[in-house]
């Protein structure tokens, strides 16, 4: 008897008992749907979380000075230069100072987030898109002279200048609660609001402005010594070494070794924690899935045993007509595998539907991999074989006369 024949027989038998077969499949359906859905959602969430970390800067080190530090112990421009020059894993370094203030040009004053930094700010900033639409970024020369120059985000520029776009060279006023200065716009970067799509209403979005930190000192009385610094490392693997090295260097330069005045933070440990949680999550799901599939498998075995008993006469007749032990064995094993596999396929489809709907609700992308699909189907077949063998052997070993006599 060919495999195709036993396949057809198995499908006939399953079709003859639709309701019972479906109930038997439920274990597999639910188990596999859960696995597929949770894996897909988990993958989507992981992508989203690591994406967020990368946005925030997986290669970023944040350096800060303790409130207990004296004036001499504040970080200086020379310190920053020294860090950059002595450690080639550092690709950019900038003071990190944000002022919540106001900006005005011809019309109304708008709220503004004003970032002060070195020319490296273009590369260290996590919030302002560094790509220039027109003009230029400020330079070391601008920084050294405390030049009254500013770079503005395109959407901010539009709101200040009545939708005009050609505004490089125009003047605007930046104001803190105490002081205001007039600055010349030297560059326009891409819109920042794009990055926060949907998160904030566009018209209430502040104007983003970047100026040299030296110029910041002219508008904000709080901006003095450097208390916060952002460092970009070459790669994610470098950030631990960069963090340690920077702190050591600062402590040596200010002669405060061991006093813990300087702290370097990075997202690596947080990222590791997220990784751990996600791994644990996946392992947990794997365990739940295994239990669900074993329960499903027991269901398959149970129904196959019932089926063997019900079809005892059929088995006897088939044997009389020339079916060998192997023929009967294959017939019932095929039935168990198909039962299990159909459950697996229905579960797979259900899982994909659930994953897509949940992902849509959470605004993430469900990631269903081919590996997961193949794994699930192979596993479902394996469950069918494992739990089908005992009933199939029982059927195959029936004594033909006793089977024929069975009422």
């Amino acid at each position: 008897m060919t495999l195709l024949e036993s396949f057809k027989m198995a499908l006939d038998a399953i079709r003859a008992n639709k309701m019972r077969s479906f109930l038997t499949m439920l274990g597999n359906i639910i188990g596999i749907a859960a696995v597929i859905a949770i894996l897909a959602i988990g993958n989507g969430a992981t992508t989203r979380i690591t994406g967020t970390f990368n946005d925030l800067g997986a290669t970023t080190v944040s350096l800060s000075v303790s409130n207990n530090a004296s004036n001499d112990e504040q970080i200086t421009d020379q310190d920053l230069q020294a860090i950059k020059n002595t450690d080639d894993r550092v690709t950019a370094i900038s003071p990190n100072y944000t002022l919540s203030g106001f900006a005005a040009a011809s019309g109304d004053e708008k709220t503004a987030l004003i970032f002060g930094g070195s020319p490296d700010l273009q590369r260290t900033s996590n919030v302002m898109d560094p790509s220039l639409v027109s003009g230029r970024y400020f330079t070391q020369a601008d920084y050294d002279e405390s030049a009254p120059v500013a770079v503005i985000s395109a959407d901010g520029a539009k709101s200040l200048f009545n939708n005009q776009t050609n505004i490089v060279g125009k003047m605007m006023t930046l104001r803190s609660r105490t002081t205001s200065i007039s600055v010349r716009i030297i560059g326009v970067t891409k819109s920042t609001a794009d990055k926060f799509q949907g998160a904030v209403r566009r018209n209430s979005f502040p104007v983003y402005v970047a100026i040299p930190y030296s110029t910041m000192k002219l508008v904000s009385i709080n901006a003095g010594g450097i208390t916060d610094v952002t460092i970009k490392a070459r790669s994610r693997n470098d950030i631990t070494a960069v963090s340690q090295n920077t702190v050591r260097l600062l402590e040596t330069r200010h002669d405060v070794v061991g006093q813990q005045l300087y702290t370097a933070r990075n997202y690596l440990s947080a990222l590791d924690q997220v990784d751990n949680v996600l791994t644990l999550f996946v392992e947990f799901i794997a365990a739940v899935a295994a239990i669900a599939l074993v329960v499903g498998g027991i269901g398959v075995m149970n129904i196959m045993l019932v089926s063997v008993t019900e079809r005892t006469r059929e088995i006897g007749t088939r044997k009389a007509l020339g079916a060998t032990t192997r023929d009967i064995m294959i017939q019932f094993l095929t039935e168990a595998v198909i039962l299990s596999l159909i459950g697996g396929i229905i579960g797979l489809m259900l899982g994909i539907i659930v994953a897509e709907s949940v992902a849509a609700a959470l605004a993430i992308t469900a990631t269903i991999t081919w590996q997961a699909i193949v794994l699930v189907l192979v596993f479902a077949s394996a469950v069918g074989i494992f739990f089908g063998i005992y009933p199939a052997r029982k059927a195959a070993k029936l004594n033909p006369i006793e089977a024929l006599r069975y009422e």
Binding site: R15, L321, G322, A323, T324, I401, L404
Partner: protein, 239 residues
Amino acid sequence: MSLISLTHIVKTYRTGDETLHVLKDVNLTVNTGEFLAIMGPSGSGKSTMMNIMGLLDNFDAGVYTLNNQDVTHLNENQRAHVRNKEIGFVFQSFNLMPRMTLLENVALPMVYAGIGRGERKDRAADALTQVGLGDRVDHQPNEISGGQMQRVAIARAIVNRPAVIMADEPTGNLDSHTSLEIVRIFQELNAAGTTIVMVTHEPDIAQYAKRIVSFRDGIVQKDEPVANPPQLFSQEVSS
């Protein structure tokens, strides 16, 4: 040369410490082309004998030769092949597969013989035509009468062109009119050369065979030819 030769067959059942001697040194020879009826009261060992001849059951002593092959010591697998090739079974309760069409039912022995789909279909349709059901190939067993079901079973029994048809009480579940219909088909097949062994406890049915072997308490009590058995297939027997 005999088709079936059973010599000194002994069959006992042991239940607890009791030993039941069902067949006590039975000898039976069937030649090609015979139509043999096995008769006897209930419990005399007819079915046991039939199951042994059909290679469905073992026996404790004796030698069995079928179609020039010593089949006394075959294993389960070899017996399945011999059953498939040499023997066509007809059961009292028809034993059709309920969810298969008549054509699929008749084709089943050929599935186990490894015959291809196309040939199976043709031969199964031919066999159904031979028993007068050529127009019912796509019907299911629950759509036809008992007599028709037994005709399907006969088609299934002859489809692999076996050396012998073995029927255990083939008319046991049928009324007398339908029973004669079945016997008529047996006579037709026999006239065309098929060897038939039929168990029955009804003398009315046995009289149509060419030879009657009577069992009693596990031994062959009588074994004699039937002088001029009435021919059913020349007459019109409508269904």
